[in-house]
Symmetry: C2
């Protein structure tokens, strides 16, 4: 297969700028690797609310369901962040999209770049050589459980619910990746307090029997939050539930000093979405200073998913080439730096 | 009042060793400041399970309720950590104690010690001058909500519930402390996803009107987990719910490089408990290498609570004196170090 339908959701803030560099790079890939990408653009997030009143218009959802993969920028706008009473919010669009597309596994690879290591808030010797792959469950747990606020505003609750069916597919995915790596899988939970965490432990314990090469370890989430800062190198593959994954993966993303470089994939049975992990970063919007690399590396993850591993590798090498040759945005080099579009073009040209 | 009933729960691991140094120091305080401490010892944690089958025997609870303050060591034992099926666990004792004593506010001051700053995994310029006070709600939320595992083990749930009554007292406490400090209070939540978080925001927003000098800010928990590593100095007083507080306060505890020094207080209407934030650290048990300073500084928080501020200050000065004179345990100086008991005696002698 050499023809792919790509849904493109630029979203808010710097989303459109970085996504358009990904398209530039994909066009280069198409030329060199003789394949075709057909792009369908959809509205999403604050942008979609302003134009249609809905953070995820039906039209957008349809485009995504019809696609082979979704390329996503970012959502979020200060207008909503500063108004806790807002009834319609950009985030609702993202959560609905995850659920509707069944994107149960959010995957984040974290590596340190030797040339950027000194940008980290952590000391070189702590982080050098860190290489972590995080699997976060994305369509269940407290995000999607029953929610209630009593009409008088006296109390509220959120239910965190998990069934073994929610856990089994992502656990297999994580075990399989661990087999290809250092064969260590760490489940992060709070099994000394939560019933759902104990269900995660038991379910993973059973699955572990099918992966005798992989060493399964457990760590409480509070301890994990400490260990990620004290000694991130101890981790190989991490598996965790939705809310803990939200916190832990964001914490982990800053240890390498290169959040503008980190990609992510959200995978389901029939759909997949790729997005940079940095958010909409509204302060930088339209200034040409946003780093397009995270979006471009998310595109590389998409190429892997589309079974174009050579193209994905080429793209990753192109990014490394840009970084080595210091063709980077201002976040990585305050003295000599290039615009979002210059970096994108440099990478596309190399391909 | 110069006569105080202190319940002493040494607990597991290094708990007994560090608590006994606190008692040594309290005896010195009693002599110098002409007051009297009457100690009643209680069993708690794994120790209590081994001896009585119950992690919190009624006798212990009674001693605590009758006391003016509780001095607590640590709980936890690898025997239980490695067995997710264990029906009776040390943690249940601690959670029950918090609930029964109504200890709704867990308070953790975090400061960097100039002479220890290079022990931190973070760079000096990131952490130098960090001074944070964390308020974690301790007797509600997902810790104490309804829990359920279906008998077939197919699904489980945990309910996170909050009422305004759970939020109001700790919010006032946090605002009052913020007034005495840099007048900035940061509420950590996930109001873009959780109903309970939105209840926290609205409740705090209302309370803020009574503290016009204090600037109230909101931050999502995932972003907070990043910001604590990127720029901890931006925080002054932090307020958060139980589970987020568990994760965030442990993460924050490692940034200063001196977890062996950090105290905590858990306060209720009628009771209060003081404990070091390091855990039971079973590997170090009985070796005389545990750092007693966190327990001793927790004792200083207890003296403040008992309205003996001069004694509390003296104790803090004694600890600083020990650190300046390098009378410290091996965690702080691998070359020249002293035993747990030597450090305790040095501090007691100074008083
Ligand atoms: C925007 C928000 C709802 C979302 C989440 O919490 O999942 C974001 O933080 C993320 O991690 O993708
Ligand atoms: C032991 C455990 C139940 C406890 C908690 O999660 O509250 C501990 O981590 C703490 O922070 O005191």
């Amino acid at each position: 297969n050499s023809y792919f339908k790509i849904a493109v959701l630029p979203g808010d803030g710097i989303g459109p700028e970085v996504v358009s560099e990904s398209i530039k790079v994909l066009d280069a890939v198409a030329e060199v690797f003789q394949c075709q990408f057909q792009y369908s653009y959809g509205l999403m997030g604050a942008e979609a609310i302003f134009k249609t009143g809905d953070p995820l218009p039906d039209e957008t959802l349809k485009i995504c369901k019809d696609s082979d993969a979704v390329l996503f920028g970012a959502i979020g706008d200060p207008v909503f962040d500063n108004n806790p009473e807002a009834k319609v919010r950009p985030e609702q669009g993202l959560l609905k999209l995850r659920k509707e597309l069944g994107l149960y596994a959010n995957i984040r690879p974290l590596k340190t770049y030797p040339s950027l290591i000194d940008k980290s808030p952590l000391k070189r010797e702590i982080i050098e050589g860190t290489d972590i792959l995080i699997f976060r469950e994305l369509v269940s747990g407290i995000y999607f459980g029953e929610k209630f606020t009593d009409p008088d505003g006296k109390y509220a609750y959120d239910v965190c619910k998990y069934s073994t069916e929610d856990i089994i597919p992502i656990a297999h995915m994580a075990f399989k990746e661990a087999e290809k790596r250092k064969k260590k899988l760490t489940l992060i939970d709070k099994a000394n307090v939560l019933d759902t965490s104990r269900l995660w432990r038991k379910t993973c314990q059973k699955i572990a029997l099918q992966y005798p090469d992989v060493q399964l370890e457990y760590i409480f989430v509070d301890n994990a939050a400490m260990q990620l800062v004290l000694n991130p190198k101890q981790f190989d593959v991490i598996l965790t539930e939705n809310m803990f994954g939200d916190i832990i993966s964001d914490e982990a993303s800053v240890i390498g000093g290169s959040i503008g470089l980190l990609p992510s994939a959200s995978i389901g049975e029939e759909n997949a979405l790729f997005e940079p992990i940095h958010g909409s970063y509204p302060q930088a919007k339209g200034k040409g200073i946003a780093n397009p690399v995270a979006s471009i590396l998310s595109t590389a993850m998409m190429l892997d998913y589309l079974e174009l591993p050579e193209a994905a590798d080429k793209l990753r090498r192109a990014v490394e080439h840009a970084i080595e040759n210091r063709c980077v945005t201002v976040d990585l080099n305050t003295e000599q730096h290039y615009t979002t579009s210059e970096v994108g073009s440099f990478i596309a040209d190399y391909i």
